[in-house]
């Protein structure tokens, strides 16, 4: 039902970290992602001992918690069309994340995000990541904007 929003995400293949959106409204979003055992970062992080990098956990939290909700709000409130306009990109402007547990290849994580505000084009959310036993993996504040970047002219 909510997964049509995934068609608007600008990420492809190895950098798309959203499988499913289980809850989505103006104030919150919840989504899931299962870490692929053959993801590109496990080979080197760490050699012989694969652990999901904190920066990837941060990216999963940002894609589900900020980008999915941000695109939903922008589509609702403006004329932006993500399918036709390929110069609109979601950009992260700040994060402040704390980590509590490691995540191994093949594990499923759930991200829950609650909107703090959406004003002047900036979305700020409080985001939590839980593992399959509902234990806290990470939490933090995320902010981002949607920018029109014309990469072809630069």
């Amino acid at each position: 039902m909510n997964n049509h929003i995934l068609n608007h995400l600008p990420y492809k293949s190895s950098f798309r970290f959203v499988d499913n959106i289980s809850l989505l409204n103006e104030n919150e979003v919840r989504g899931e992602y299962t870490l692929k055992e053959d993801a590109f970062f496990y080979e080197d992080h760490f050699a012989g001992n694969p652990v999901t990098p904190g920066v990837i956990l941060t990216e999963i939290m940002a894609q589900i918690g900020l980008v999915v909700l941000g695109i939903f709000l922008v589509i609702k409130e403006t004329e932006f069309n993500f399918m036709e306009d390929d110069s609109l990109f979601p950009l992260l402007t700040s994060t402040d994340v704390s980590f509590y547990k490691i995540v191994l290849p093949g594990q499923k994580v759930t991200v829950i995000s609650k909107k703090q505000y959406f004003r002047f084009g900036k979305l700020k959310c409080y985001v939590e990541m839980l593992d399959s036993s509902k234990e806290l993996v990470a939490k933090g504040m995320f902010s981002g904007v949607i920018k029109n970047i014309n990469t072809k002219n630069e």
Partner: protein, 89 residues
């Protein structure tokens, strides 16, 4: 509220978002929030929201657009405060 009073309060609003604490003591109307105080442009939104709470005003999109340096911030805040006072009369 005089411009001086607004400026003193504005310093407190800006403080959490700038890493250039030394410059904050000597800001004037020409001080640019992004260039001089090195404030992340997305944090201007936080400054506007904090200013709204502090002065109990509402800042619309067009006014927010003008808030580039300390002087224009004070202009907008003082304009909104007087608008609010008009309404209460």
């Amino acid at each position: 509220m005089t411009r001086k009073e607004i400026l003193d309060e504005l310093k407190k609003v800006i403080a959490p978002y700038t890493t250039n604490k030394e410059m904050l003591d000597s800001i004037n109307d020409q001080t640019d929030l992004i260039k001089d105080l090195k404030i992340n442009s997305a944090n201007l939104v936080d400054i506007i929201i904090d200013a709204e709470a502090k002065y109990q005003i509402e800042i619309d999109y067009d006014s927010a657009d003008k808030m580039i340096n300390v002087g224009t911030c004070i202009d907008v805040i003082s304009e909104k405060i007087s608008q609010k006072n008009e309404e209460y009369r």
